[in-house]
């Protein structure tokens, strides 16, 4: 077991804070979160950092490591050159609370606005029948661990707070896609997506897909198909007339 000293810069304080440098031992096989924990246990007991599972399953320890949004628990120390200084900053898009902890309540507020799953009735035998191949694509979306790295990376809100009220963001588009493509769901969220959730503001630069620790093809498999569905709905003349006649409201 080798123990080397590494230099790590961690953001301390609120928005008026700054990076502080720590020299700390790192052992073979460790991840960035291990080293942050060692700083916390031995040098800065009050260092604020969120984490839970430490196995890439809960999505709590999101941060920007050397400028790249990632989970600290899944970032191995051997990714860095020996002697390289590692800089850890909180996610930039969300309001900073303290140190590495940000206020991610935006995501929870957006989640409340998602019209719920509304299943069709069961089969006569009391079951729901679905073929595996019909749910594979939705199961991909259900892999989302809500680390919010995609939200953090999306330039529609990263540098434009003013867009937040009208833009659900990639995580929520994955959620909408999961519902819209669910074989049992009967709810329709297309108008809401276009009019109030900002689906059209995404210009498919795929930054979200690049940072997804679950390798969900957010842009290709969720956002683009949603855009296509909205377009089909909008420009289908029958649907257009029906909408005018019924003055249908978006589901809530």
């Amino acid at each position: 077991m080798t123990a080397d000293t590494v230099t790590i810069r961690i953001w301390r304080g609120d928005v008026d804070g700054g990076f502080e440098e720590y020299g700390v031992a790192a052992q073979e096989g460790e991840v960035v979160l291990d080293v942050v924990h060692r700083v916390q246990a031995t040098q800065a007991n009050d260092l604020a950092v969120r984490w839970n599972c430490k196995a890439g399953k809960c999505g709590s320890c999101s941060a920007e490591v050397n400028g790249i949004p990632r989970l600290m628990c899944m970032t191995r120390m051997n990714l860095f050159e020996p002697g390289e200084t590692i800089t850890i900053a909180p996610m930039k898009t969300f309001p900073l609370i303290r140190d590495l902890v940000t206020d991610v309540s935006f995501n929870y507020e957006m989640a409340k606005k998602v019209p719920p799953f509304r299943p069709k009735p069961r089969e006569p035998d009391g079951t729901y029948r679905m073929r595996q191949e019909d749910i594979d694509r939705v199961q991909e979306f259900h892999k989302c661990i809500e680390c919010f790295l995609c939200q953090n990376t999306c330039h529609v809100i990263r540098d434009h707070d003013e867009n937040e009220p009208a833009f659900a963001g990639p995580r929520m588009f994955v959620r909408y896609a999961a519902l819209e493509m669910h074989p049992l769901d009967t709810n329709d969220r297309r108008e809401l997506l276009q009019d109030r959730m900002g689906l059209g503001m995404c210009n498919i630069t795929k930054c979200c897909t690049e940072v997804c620790p679950e390798d969900i093809h957010i842009t290709d498999n969720a956002i683009i198909p949603l855009k296509e569905r909205v377009v089909d709905d909008r420009y289908d003349p029958v649907m257009w007339v029906a909408r005018k006649l019924r003055r249908r409201k978006s589901p809530t």
Binding site: D34, Q40, N45, N52, K54, A55, K57, S60, V114, C144
Partner: protein
């Protein structure tokens, strides 16, 4: 006078994993004003890490499966120490709870005819676990979370409860603090449901997250409730052992359910040498028979790799002690030679990912190294089987922090189903209790002032103890002296060390201020951790036999007399007392099921 905000509800649910979420959903559906209070962000509770599946006798893969067989398997797995009525309700109601999740949007893996697929797991006679690859817990918590949000349940995230409040004998509310601001918060409520999970952070090597500090166990104990079976701590046989920093992280039993086998350094499938008498009649004797069993449940008996967890953990421990371990002190778990890379990646995607990213091991090409890790607490709050009410009026508990359901050892897959079945029941009966009260309890403000003063003491005391160092030393103590194999001498030594650790915890010094300060949060997690550690150690000392998860080197045999009692722990006037109290007697019609081989 302490400053705090006050909220009033009918039912407070503490903990937002599977049990807490399901309880809150049910209490709210019953019309109770319900609040869900949790230490982490919503959706991050430990349930999210559950991998293998939800045990429920749906009979989709084996039509001969039914609740009676599930009941039998559960009781045998628990070495008959289970509360039979809980085991019965659990087996009967689990299928409906799974189907309900599907109705709320969960997407389980499917059979060829489009129904919910079920997988083999240790101790279950038939393939019984509804699952989603190896990320079933994520599917479950997300489904419940989204359902709860749509139902408009009030959620208090990153809020830690440090004490339950009482009015005379009954529950009056709960007191805690916001992690973000450090400000205090008081919940007035006649009914509290504990769904706080387990105690794993009392141990050095554990699959559990930071939250698992025994809060519900300690809150109940301090409120005067009985705890039972605290000696039964489950060590999951397969945690990662290398690299050191990830040791303890869970490797799902699904690996063995899907064909993986355990081997020692000689390449021997050693589990065939560890088949206990109780399971001999239903376990394969040869590798050929064991391999045939995966596809032929009628003509062959199950592989010993899928014996219950207590048996497998002990066997691995013995192999390592005998010098037949893997390079990093575990044994080998091989699925690479047993299935195609495509099959492995499809069935076990997160295991593939976890080993590749954290250990540079490609599980489709080479074996994993695994060893026991502290995983689950069988013991907990003594509850009524139907209502989940504790011995304190108004206090309910469900899931891991409740005791009785799993007896001396829990079967894999029975936890997620436990959360759903008894979370629902706890929420239902808590709401009914609150609605049926003639007068609502009141809270004594002086008691709150005292709690608040205690909570900020670590900022003010003259001590110099580092809370992280105290926790690490506690974890060493429990790991070394109250681990998988126990002796009276070591348990006595642990009690001495716990006394010292309690003194040190009283001298913990916290730096900084109250806003999002993990050092302070940990300082406040130490009292529950120390309380449950003492309960575990004293209960383990009291049960002078080996049974299920309790292995006593000095009492290696099972004592039939001790098979009739629970060890009950309670606190009166600040002192713990222990007693042996009779188990509920299994009715004759159910007893017949247990005798069935």
């Amino acid at each position: 006078m302490a400053e705090y905000e006050t909220h009033e509800f009918d039912v407070i649910v503490v903990g937002a994993g599977g049990a807490g979420l399901r309880a809150a959903i049910e209490a709210s559906a019953q019309g109770a004003r319900t609040a869900l209070v949790c230490k982490s962000l919503l959706g991050k509770a430990h349930t999210v890490m559950a991998e293998g599946g939800i045990a429920a006798a749906l009979g989709n893969v084996y039509p001969e499966d039914d609740w009676q067989v599930h009941f039998r398997d559960t009781m045998r797995g628990g070495k008959f120490l289970n509360n039979w009525a809980m085991a019965q309700l659990h087996a009967q109601e689990a299928p409906d709870r799974v189907l309900e999740l599907e109705e709320w949007g969960a997407l389980f893996d499917r059979t060829a005819d489009g129904r919910i697929l079920q997988r083999d797991f240790g101790g279950h006679r038939y393939a019984r676990l509804a699952h989603v690859g190896d990320r079933t817990g994520l599917e479950m918590i997300r489904t419940l979370q989204q359902h709860a949000v749509h139902k408009g349940i009030d959620v208090f995230m990153e809020c830690t409860i440090i004490r339950l409040l009482k009015d005379g004998d009954r529950i009056a509310g709960a007191f805690g603090y916001w992690r973000e601001s450090g400000r205090f918060v008081m919940f007035k409520a006649p009914a509290v449901v504990l769904g706080t999970g387990g105690i794993g952070k009392a141990y050095k090597i554990t699959s559990n997250s930071w939250e698992y500090t025994g809060d519900g166990h300690a809150l109940a104990l301090w409120a005067g409730a009985d705890l039972i079976d605290m000696e039964f701590v489950q060590f999951h046989p397969t945690g990662m052992v290398w690299p050191a920093s990830v040791s303890g992280i869970l490797v799902t039993e699904g690996v063995r359910g899907d064909g993986g086998v355990l081997k020692n350094s000689n390449g021997e499938r050693f589990m065939f040498r560890y088949i206990p008498e109780m399971y001999r009649a239903e376990t394969a004797e040869t590798e050929e028979e064991a391999d045939r069993w995966y596809t032929d449940k009628q003509g062959a008996r199950r592989t010993p790799d899928l014996l219950p967890r207590d048996e497998v953990a002990r066997a691995i421990n013995a192999e390592v002690k005998a010098g037949r371990g893997s390079p990093h002190g575990g044994v080998f778990l091989d699925i690479a030679s047993r299935g195609s890379p495509d099959y492995i990646k499809r069935r076990l995607p997160s295991m593939y990912h976890q080993f590749l990213q954290l250990a540079d091991v490609d599980i489709t090409k080479e074996p994993m190294e695994v060893g026991p890790t502290c995983h689950y607490m069988m013991g907990g709050v003594r509850v009524d089987a139907e209502s989940q009410e504790s011995t304190v009026p108004g206090l309910f508990a469900a899931g891991e922090c409740a005791g009785g359901m799993h007896g001396a050892n829990r079967l894999g897959g029975n936890s997620l189903s436990d959360l759903l079945v008894f979370g629902r029941r706890a929420g239902q009966y808590a709401a009914q209790y609150a609605a049926g009260l003639e007068s609502r309890p009141t809270v004594d403000p002086a008691a709150i002032d005292e709690l608040a003063a205690q909570a900020v003491a670590p900022f003010e005391v003259g001590g110099a103890e580092n809370p992280y160092a105290v926790q690490q030393d506690l974890q060493e103590c429990m790991h070394n002296l109250v681990g998988i194999i126990r002796t009276e001498d070591e348990l006595d030594k642990a009690l001495e060390e716990l006394t010292v650790l309690n003194e040190r915890a009283a001298r913990v010094k916290v730096e900084g201020h109250r806003q999002y300060n993990p050092g302070w949060h940990l300082a406040l997690d130490l009292p529950p951790l120390l309380a449950v550690s003492e309960c575990i150690t004293r209960a383990a000392r009291e049960r002078r036999e080996s049974r299920g998860a309790q292995t006593r080197d000095d009492y290696p045999d099972t004592d039939p007399e001790l098979g009739k009692v629970n060890v009950v722990v309670r606190q009166r006037d600040g002192d713990l007392s222990l007693s042996l109290e009779p188990l509920p007697v299994v009715p004759d019609d159910l007893r017949k099921l247990l005798e069935d081989q």
